[in-house]
């Protein structure tokens, strides 16, 4: 065993997992970011092997904040089961892996959710031929449901609350749910709304399928870091906030250079023309400028990865700015 280890283990020296992540990242020269093994719109390798998606952009934004270079990031694939141990052991510096922010994960697992980059929720998808327009009309329906997930419990609660019954068809994976629904073995497929959108986009004829308006659970997805390293948490939190604030202020990757001579004080603070916010975070003065320049604001990232013009066609909905009917809200940049 010893011999085995010494021959095949590639040993590198890791620094202590808890303190000074920012310094570790700077010393290492690149960010290690945990993403999914592939989820449409959030993180998936494109044809050239580059990771793309809303979560991948989040990772890149943090890399830009620290290094001013969007390529200084190494994506580490994690599954639903391996993500938390991977973060806890220090193998990744942060997770941007469509992870729902819950009290037990935040408190009991010892992580720190730094914000929300996508407000998701459990929804229902049906064939439009079913002639149903609301989930409350689904009495007696056969529902495809992933076993052992919170969606299963949410489903039971929803149907009991509305006094209607259903028959569950247990499935293991998203693919299985998709095949069962398309083959007509179940009337309804329920999972997170973003997952339903990708299922619908993969159908032979997306127009034949309908996502019902009811969202029956709160699934705020966001990046997280290890508990106790507040300096690093701040870097990740404000990288996300900078993208949201940029959208709010109308600063985009296209006009960011022109905006440097804006007369709006918050824009000048955001772009590092005034104030010393970069210094406070131990980052370059123009860290937020670089994020907007190289990645874009939140809206640009959203539209490119999951928005109405992509095959996923997810409307902004809850993810619109608070000024535009959504709940996306970042604390002021001052």
């Amino acid at each position: 065993m010893k011999k085995l280890l010494s021959i095949f283990a590639v040993t590198v020296f890791a620094f202590s997992a808890n303190a000074g992540t920012l310094d570790d990242v700077k010393n290492r020269g690149f960010l290690k970011c945990g993403v999914t093994t592939g989820l449409a719109g959030f993180a998936a390798p494109d044809d050239s092997g580059e990771w793309a998606g809303l979560d991948a952009d989040m990772c890149r934004a943090v890399a830009v904040a620290v290094f001013g270079d969007r390529s200084k990031v190494e994506f580490i694939t994690t599954t639903g089961k391996s993500r938390f141990p991977t973060l806890a052991s220090g193998e990744v510096d942060m997770l941007a892996r469509n992870t729902t922010w819950t009290i037990s994960r935040d408190v009991n697992l010892g992580f720190e959710f730094v914000g929300v980059n996508f407000y998701d929720g459990q929804g229902f998808m049906i064939p439009s031929s079913l002639g149903v327009s609301s989930a409350t009309e689904l009495d007696g329906a056969t529902v495809c449901i992933q076993t052992g997930t919170t969606t299963e419990l949410n489903l039971a609660d929803f149907f009991r609350l509305n006094g209607i019954s259903y028959e569950a068809l247990p499935i293991e994976t998203n693919d299985e749910g998709k095949e069962n629904l398309f083959a007509g073995r179940c009337d309804v497929y329920t999972t997170d709304a973003s997952g339903l959108s990708s299922t619908r986009a993969a159908a032979a004829d997306p127009g034949k399928w309908l996502v019902l308006p009811e969202i029956i659970s709160k699934e705020p997805l966001g990046p997280l870091v290890r508990h106790g390293d507040h300096q690093w948490g701040d870097v990740v939190r404000w990288s996300l906030n900078a993208m949201i604030i940029a959208e709010e202020l109308g600063v985009s990757s296209e006009n960011v250079d022109a905006q440097k001579s804006s007369n709006v004080p918050e824009v000048l603070r955001l772009l590092g023309v005034e104030g010393s916010y970069g210094e406070m975070l131990e980052l370059a003065p123009d860290w937020a400028y670089q994020i907007i320049k190289q990645i874009g604001n939140y809206s640009e990232s959203y539209e490119a990865n999951v928005g109405p013009d992509t095959p996923l066609e997810i409307a902004r909905g809850l993810n619109a700015l608070w000024t535009q009917g959504g709940i996306l809200y970042a604390p002021p940049f001052r």
Partner: protein, 377 residues
């Protein structure tokens, strides 16, 4: 004296194609029924499969002659009635399927390793290979060369195993697992049959523990718990941890297979070897093991094929092997919904490797005549 009777030909119905058909497919009425049923199924499916996978399929261009860059351009999306498979997803992502995210400018290192793997393995497999002795020397040092080539070091730029993927990861896991588990398995099998109680007990405990838990559990153990046992400040590479888990798993199974072979060797062989003064190791290496391994070949190949396929489980711990890369491709919004093509391709690659392994085992069995009574030859 001249009227030698001409030898009569055998009846027509027992020779040629007709005879073969009668012997093999239509010997009884039950067999005839089964044969007809199978022929009907083949007749139904083979044209359809050929049409879907080849004749109506898109490779690089769709039926309009445009180069396919996303799913909307696939013939089977444009025309669901007539379009066949859309292999463009494989074509465009072939690099990823073969090498994962290995940097393109460094990929010659992987190709060279594949080539050297062939040079190292082929002479090992066929004992009539010319200059076999010299090639075998290379086989012994190949793992070291491959390690530095793929991983970097000795002047080569380091490529983190996070960037490895696709067939590369599948082959690294499969080959290393099988190659390391074989000697470990032999040692464990001998240990379990040892007369020394401590050794025998330890080997039995190890084998029974590993066989008692699923591979997924071991992978998690390797991924999550192994780092906790390592000294502070030492971080073991993710792929290496999985390799340890896979090797331990395979060696326990291999040990039991070889032990089965050892049990089949008559006691007389041991006694004869002892009586001419051979030591324990001489007896095992020169008399017992060659016979035991020979009769275990089918089972050894069986467990090896099993392991090769089990390597797909590593996706659970976040490594993207061939299947993982395929699932990643399906998650790209450009290609959503082309699951049949991806899974077909992945299974085809696995089939090629496992089928080659099983044919080789048949060849070996024929050559070594494992069916013959052991004591006699």
């Amino acid at each position: 004296m001249n009227d030698i009777t001409e030898s009569r030909k055998p009846p027509v119905a027992t020779t040629g194609i007709l005879g073969w058909l009668r012997m093999n497919l239509f010997s009884t009425w039950v067999n005839s029924l089964i044969s007809l049923f199978v022929l009907y199924i083949l007749f139904q499916f083979i044209p359809w499969i050929l049409n879907w996978t080849i004749f109506a399929a898109d490779f690089k261009y769709n039926f309009n002659g445009e180069e396919i860059v996303n799913r909307e351009m696939c013939s089977r999306v444009l025309d669901p009635e007539n379009g066949g498979a859309c292999w463009a997803i494989i074509y465009v992502r072939f690099y990823q399927f073969m090498y994962g995210f290995y940097p393109r400018e460094e990929v010659w290192r992987v190709n060279l390793s594949y080539l050297m793997l062939a040079v190292a393995v082929v002479p090992l497999l066929f004992d009539n290979f010319p200059f076999r002795k010299h090639f075998l020397k290379f086989t012994y040092i190949f793992p070291v060369i491959a390690f530095f080539l793929l991983n970097g070091g000795l002047g080569l730029e380091s490529v983190s195993t996070n960037k490895w993927g696709g067939l590369l990861v599948t082959l690294v896991l499969g080959c290393t697992g099988i190659a390391l588990a074989f000697p470990l398995g032999i040692i464990l099998a001998l240990g379990r049959r040892s007369n020394l109680p401590v050794i025998s007990m330890m080997c039995t405990l190890f084998i029974e523990f590993i066989r008692g838990v699923p591979l997924i559990t071991l992978l998690f153990f390797g991924m999550v718990m192994l780092p906790l046992f390592l000294p502070e400040g030492i971080d073991m590479d993710g792929l290496a941890r999985v390799l340890v888990a896979v090797t331990l798993f395979q060696s326990a199974y291999m040990a039991e297979v070889i032990r089965g072979g050892l049990q089949a060797i008559p006691q007389g062989q041991y006694e004869a070897a002892r009586s001419i003064g051979l030591s324990y190791w001489q007896m095992n290496l020169k008399v017992v093991l060659p016979q035991a391994i020979r009769i275990s070949i089918p089972s050894i190949v069986n467990t090896s094929i099993g392991l090769f396929k089990d390597t797909t489980l590593v996706i659970i711990v976040g490594l993207l092997d061939l299947l993982g890369i395929g699932r990643g491709a399906l998650a790209d919004t450009t290609w959503l919904g082309l699951a049949y093509e991806v899974y077909f391709f992945v299974s085809l690659v696995f089939f090629i490797f496992t089928f080659a392994m099983s044919r080789y085992s048949l060849y070996l069995e024929k050559k070594l005549k494992t069916g013959i009574n052991m004591g006699a030859d």
